[in-house]
Amino acid sequence: MSGLLFQAFVYLVAAVVAVPVAKRLGLGSVLGYLIAGIVIGPALGLVGSETHEIQHFAEFGVVMMLFIVGLELEPQALWRMRSRLVGFGGLQVLLTTAVITAGGLLLQLRWPTALAVGLILALSSTAIVLQTLNEKGLASTEGGRTGFAILLFQDIAVIPMLALIPLLALPELAASHLADAGSEGSHAAMSLVDGLPPSQYALVVLGAIAFVVLAGHFLSRPLFRFISAARLREIFTATALLLIIGIALLMTLVDLSPALGTFLAGVVLANSEFRHELESDIEPFKGLLLGLFFITVGAGIDFGFLFGNAATVVGLTLAVMAAKALVLFALARLFGLQAPDGWMVTLGLAQAGEFGFVLLSFSLQNGVLPDELVKTLSLVVAMSMLLTPVSFIVLEKLIRPRLRGAAAADADDIDEQGTVVIAGIGRFGQIVNRLLVADGVRTVVLDHEAEIIDTVRQAGIKTYFGDASRPDLLHAAGIESASVFVVAIDDQKRAVEMVEHVHRHYPGVKILARAFDINHLYLLKNAGCDVAVREVFDGSLRIGAEALRALGVHPFRVEKMVDAFRRHDLEGLRHLYELWDRDRAISENRAFLARAKEHGETLRERMISDRMQQHDRTERGWTPPPKGYVDALSE
């Protein structure tokens, strides 16, 4: 127990110290984690061989990341990127494999070995690249999207690779490794598909995928609704975790990549109202696990072996990265990417990835690669990952500034822009939303009543489940890229809290809120709300106006009175604010009440003009000139 606590303590201290420092220095969090790993591992020796097991566990962060990536990617968006996915991604894997295999042959490797190395090193690091792109806000640029498409293709390509690599086994290695293969199963120890003929295997795989898609589509909603009705936050989180782990398990059972399965589930749920809630629940787990993963990569570097073979490892690392960059660069040209995007893909994806580790140990177990080579290549993969944050820095500091002049005109097209986040989709929020949507404004609507969401969804309003007073959910809904935040909930206290939070953390967002009464209006204003409107004010004024009309008052006069009333009221609001006291109820605030009464009386004065004289100075509009004015004019 104490051992476990100690380990956790060491990892956390390393992360807590290294990551903020690295970010402050502009190195990005990934490099921070890697350095933290190097410090606690090889440098100080605080952690040892257990990092390997932890790494396996931490790889689950990648699975979660792909789930979140899927959540943010609607099926339509996936379809739109098909040419990049298959074309760019496919060519990248093929060409890189070819180039590296050729390099291997040049270095006197036998062809099956060279091919295996080529396949393994063709993959890039989804974890590092996506994390870095998100952190730097590059994910929705053209280059970011292309990078993502390539990574996604690579993740899919892992599946056939797992099938292909055992066929490349070298007879003499296979014999020696077969002995211990039994105890340490290559991939999943449990498998539903071991020994199935290919046709049946394909059937099982398709069945599993179909299950994920159909269950995600039809079962998830009732399930989440049922869970959310319990109103227990942690149970919802538990459900989200259960979902991901369940899918991962299912995928391993049929020898598919868990990351791929959860990605698929994410895409299926991208249109669901629970999307933002799921995202904000999984996000912290993903972040921590990925961080842990990066730390273990740093900690796992065998410095002894590295220093013994420094020249080889460094040389190979640079050669591999150069080869990969070359292929990426050529493809970026071929696919007509703008220079900044092309460079981003070229430098960003030049490393080998975490799947490389998986495939390396897999190859070792299957007698495809010799022990020594696996050790060297593991270092090459780790080194290349270590160098990635550096190449991003090169990209940002050296290449982008130079290109800026040329490409300033066509700025990156960011996906979500100028959106309005609406909290609460009851009667109030619905009207706000309808008006905005009618004008083509993109809105993100949040509500925490599953029943309301159900109703408005049927009316075609896209709404997400979640308590909008929770900062992480607002974040998931994209509050930082929103221009306007509308608080339309009926819970007064939470409305004020929401305004406070958004005002403090996102000063660029304009906040409009629904106020219950004057007191609430002042509270909202105090909290930093830009515009607060009393919810029943307009409706009541309208009824008052209709009553006057019904009494036979001329409609245009009614209109003028309503206008005068509105202005008079606004003045009153400003006037009375001086006497308002947030700690004292208005009904007990004598001075406030007295002034309110006084102000109310001025309204009567203003609106009732002297009908006998029919010339009243207080009523300004269209006042006819006084009776004798003609004489004065003609003099």
Binding site: F556, S609, R611, L633, S634
Partner: protein, 203 residues
Amino acid sequence: MRILVLFAHPAIERSEVNRPLAEATARIEGVSLVDLYAEYPDLRIDIDREQERLQSHDVIVFMHPLYWYSTPAILKEWQDLVLEYGFAYGEGGTALAGKIFFNAITAGGAEAAYCAQGYNQFTLRQLLYPIEQTARLCGMTYLAPFALYSSRTAYEEGRIEAHIADWQRVLSALRHERLDIETARGLEKLNGDLDAILKDSDR
């Protein structure tokens, strides 16, 4: 002939002349009175409804106080919106062709001031040229304005009843086609000498 009176007064509760005039108009059979400010208090005019109204009448009257030598704002808005190309003018815009048009106006200034020597420099008819030309472009026959001057003292001086009586005579003559249109076109004001333009029995 069917008569449409488009009435515009933004402060009817303080009107001394136009209000009784409008009320009298409403009581005349065969005359449709539309209080524009009542119908469109927010100035959002229903173009289709107004065009239908125009089509079902033969005589169109703008009835209003003179505001800054022109009409109150809503009548300008009405012109800008309702007199569309293809309806009132231009290709296929013949909906108003052949109809009769004129203003029924009350002016604060004295009649004597509305001439080259007066402080108003122009006659009322001259000041209304933009409207006259608008009517012409729409193919309508423009008549001299039916006008009351020195309107701010008309009540005190007891001129309102007579003015209303004249108005009733004009409307009834128009309705029964007993108004001498040719003569009425060339006058400075319609109600200068009513006997001269009213035929037979209305005399």
